[in-house]
Point group: C2
Chain length 237, copies 2
DNA sequence: TGCCGTCTCGCCATTTTTGGGGAGTTGGAA
DNA sequence: TTCCAACTCCCCAAAAATGGCGAGACGGCA
């Protein structure tokens, strides 16, 4: 068993096209004998990527109906770190139940298990499995394979990120220590006056730092600069 | 081998105190025969947690000297999703080399391997290994154990989060769609006027959103709100 | 020695943001 | 039905941020 998984993961590591990810996910599906597996990025902005075994009709419907904002799997996973069984999510809202009904009608199983994955720049992805079976069977399956699945999910994410050129952060001029101080304090809510006082420099000097940081970060205003510094990991809050 | 690892991971799952994490990391260290292992959260603000086998002197020195801002392991891992060998990081700056020298003098090995881990609310943690050996030996070791180590790192993070009451109960009220729109556009550098125009609402209405978002996020001003929304993964840029 | 980047300071005018009020609609939940 | 959250709009005045001008000191690097 494990040997076979290793083979699939190895194949994944060698993948040089998105195509290979699709093949790998199909292989995994067959290997574990589950109805569906899906890997996809979750992002409010345009850039999207996903592969999996859901029917195209369902995928399109999901996008068209903006189910991203309804799907309890999304909202549930966004707030947690570890994998979760769909049974344990909050399906109480009317919209969620309507979504669930629609999903099952489009071939999604009654059982599910999702692994949230987080990367740099707030990147968030999901690796989900879905199947039709009883609660007990599903619990046994997820319990048995949880570790492997976590690994699989992470390998998928790594590969998907590697294959996507636009995702890697663009290098920017490094900020000077003072500039970092300024950005950091601004990010935690200090006003310019407070930052200047904290750093025991004049407010004008502070302005120079903020402006040069803004320039280096290619930012349009202070908020933008702080957002970029955060996103690029230049500052940590 | 694997059986033994399972035992350690199982012990980790049962852990109900930070103490157990410390014991687990020491056990892992002995199991793999590496000099040091460390798990710690990365955050410039107050909340800190870490456990590991570095000498206390070094840990204190690290904090005191604010090496967090210099350490290439931190900045390097922040930008990437997958584990990284310390050799592949950028040690070119003078500050980085001084840091490295200091680290080695305090018992840190010449080789290292770090696994970045990300959780909800922008949580970021590192699981690092350090050892004294040749490049070839280290490469062989990391290649062999990479998968296990990824798992170990994630189990550590899960447990550390579970044990920390102050970490998860930060369930800030979810933002409404419009509030998210506003925060997102502000984060990409739009001025209020531009955001209002983009959303085709009056600037005043926009203000209402920004203010309520600020309230929900417990932020002191717009920049702070955007920073928090980013850090918590509520918005993605 | 000259150049460059970092750190430090000041003033004025304009634009932008914020804080304080109040008010109406809609649609879903209790 | 009643209530609440979300969405929409308006005015005024104060506070904060930005743009543009200039200037000196320090330390590293070529």
């Amino acid at each position: 068993m494990t040997q076979r998984l290793d083979t699939i993961l190895h194949g994944l590591e060698q993948a040089d096209q998105h195509d290979a990810l699709q093949r790998a996910i199909e292989a995994l599906c067959a290997f574990y004998g589950v109805d569906h597996m899906v890997y996809h990025w979750v992002s409010s902005s345009g850039e999207q990527y996903g592969c999996g075994t859901y029917e195209d009709v369902w995928v399109e419907r999901y996008i068209e109906k903006k189910y991203l904002r309804v799907d309890p799997v999304i909202s549930g996973c966004y707030q947690r770190f570890h994998p979760v069984d769909w049974k344990r999510l909050d399906w109480s809202s009317k919209a969620a139940r309507a979504f669930q009904k629609d999903a099952i009608e489009h071939g999604v199983g009654n059982q599910g298990f999702s692994i949230p994955i987080r990367g740099p720049n707030g990147q968030f992805a999901l690796f989900s499995l879905s199947h039709n079976c009883t609660d007990d069977e599903w619990d046994a399956f997820t319990e048995t394979n949880r570790r492997d699945l976590i690994l699989v999910a992470h390998y998928f994410n790594k590969k998907a990120l590697d294959l996507e050129p636009g995702r890697s952060p663009e290098p920017s001029q490094p900020l000077s220590p003072r500039e970092i101080d300024a950005m950091t304090l601004l990010a935690v809510g200090y006003s310019r006056a407070q930052v200047a006082e904290t750093l025991t420099i004049s407010e004008h000097t502070l302005r120079v730092y903020i402006e040069s940081a803004r320039f280096k970060l290619g930012a349009l205003n202070t908020t933008h600069a702080v957002a970029r510094a955060l996103a690029r990991g230049i500052i940590v809050v």
